[in-house]
Subunit: 303 residues, 2 copies
């Protein structure tokens, strides 16, 4: 496959590493930012030049942020290429999917959206479990950095840089593990630990208030804000480990999926590349991980 990367943040850099380790060809990294250089020496290309690569790239791996980039970049790239993105704003996935479906059908391309570990592999396990057990599966994340929540913080005016650690409430997790039929309120399951460095353009109290009222990310959650130095945020950004669980079952049986990773972006990149194998088997359209038979990912049958 001839692969392009769009966006060169944490995920873009991890995808670059994985593509270079693979048998695929990496054509270039597309970015809107000036002066970006690839760590691994890949050609960096201006975002606006994308249309010129139609027919020269088979799949564009969309590595922008969900809040600001993917909602418009994914449909745009889909005009020229098959794409995979990791769109993770749960509340807006259906809207994003139907935009992609329209473009895919108009231009005869394929998109796999929300393709990471969650949403993605964890969604697949939730769907499968729910149909087997007729009970709501319970998901826990962390301890680890949520890229989506960190990006949501960085998009708030007054914040120079930030990182968020999602921490499961041990007491609630233990009850879900051991008590059949217990389904806690979603907002009780995790704590959101935010480390922010301010740029001094806004009072701290105002910034914190905006964090705590950010819909889909922090509102109604157990949020702890720590104001720290830019250096401290940089330091914490080195820690990209993460973890997660899907618990599912009923009185007779249970299934638990546990994922652990040293690097969240590296794991996400591997999943994107696995699903890239499926693209050529699919008719044009927009697909979630739930819509793709896993047999399309692998030549070997694992029955």
């Amino acid at each position: 496959m001839r692969i392009g990367i769009c966006g060169y943040g944490n995920i873009g850099r991890a995808v670059e590493d994985k593509v270079l380790e693979s048998q695929h060809q990496l054509v270039g990294i597309f970015t809107r930012r000036q002066g970006v250089q690839s760590i691994r020496g890949t050609k960096v290309i201006a975002y606006d030049k994308m249309p010129e690569f139609e027919g020269k790239i088979d799949v564009m791996l969309m590595c922008g942020g969900s809040q600001e980039d993917l909602l418009w970049q994914s449909p745009e790239a889909l005009k020229y290429f098959d794409i995979i993105d990791t769109f993770d704003t749960h509340a807006r996935i259906q809207e994003h999917a139907s935009n992609l479906e329209n473009v895919a059908n108009l231009f005869g391309h394929r998109a796999i959206y929300s393709c990471g570990w969650d949403p993605g592999v964890f969604s697949l396990m939730r769907c499968l479990s729910a149909s087997i057990f007729h009970e709501k599966p319970e998901t826990f994340w962390g301890k680890g950095v949520s890229q989506g929540h960190s990006e949501a913080l960085r998009n708030i005016r007054g914040i120079a840089d930030a990182i968020e650690f999602t921490v499961p409430c041990e007491r609630v997790l233990e009850r879900v593990k051991t008590e059949k039929g217990y389904h806690p309120d979603d907002n009780l399951k995790h704590e959101r630990h935010c480390y922010i460095a301010l740029d001094q353009t806004r009072p701290e109290t105002e910034v914190i208030e905006e964090i705590k009222s950010t819909e889909n990310y922090f509102k109604d959650q157990q949020v702890f804000v720590n104001v720290v130095s830019l250096n401290r945020v940089q330091q914490l950004k080195g820690k990209m480990y993460h973890k997660g669980y899907v618990f599912a079952g009923d009185a007779e049986a249970s299934m638990t999926l546990e994922a652990k990773m040293d690097s969240n972006p590296a794991f996400t990149a591997k999943i994107m590349l696995a699903y890239a194998n499926a693209l050529s088997h699919l008719p044009s359209g927009a697909y979630s991980v739930l819509d793709v038979p896993v047999a399309m990912l692998e030549e070997k049958k694992w029955l």
Copy 2:
């Protein structure tokens, strides 16, 4: 759905329970044996009458054994209905699948084969993991009763009744959990504990020798045979709990799926019913669990 059950052993009885708890209609239980009565009062119908139910049953859930029944019963039932089976002789799945594919295409029906927890849900996790990590996933079963291995024992001349407990080697399991890149020899991973009652038509040593040379089930495995009374086998048959793990990962990340069940047949029955939801969405043909998008099992999106 109008459902039929073919075969009334452990799985057949568990499927009967689950169908009666569901919104589906249970038309009848088909069996070759004389004088079978349903525990739950379902109509019992002679196996040979199956063709008369064409158009009156939407899906036949095939609950016979893999060694003796499913290889010929599944293709036969598929002439009249969509079917789901739990064929679990790993070494013969491809042959079984291509037989089903031929019949499915001739008669315009759909089959989902090898649809249980393993093969089935565990196969799905192995395939997904292998494509993400490029490392062989490792599966462990037990401690629990293997229905396939117990049936293989019962099919040996000289054995009146039998049950097999699969027990993972704790030392090997621990190394797989903790040591990245360790892939033990398959025959070292489990112990096969067989409890057999003899019918006195053959010398014990001859029977044990035949067990230890049974291809695909016991040959080259760590087999322990205990000759016990019929009563003791009956007693042990009450214990249908089981457990299993799929471990997958590389140096950077890992995923573990763990399944635990009080009743192996009940869990298998639930999985068969979950996949029955997919049948009406599929074109005619034969499918493994790997070929079926999980979105077809559930109306709710679990992204």
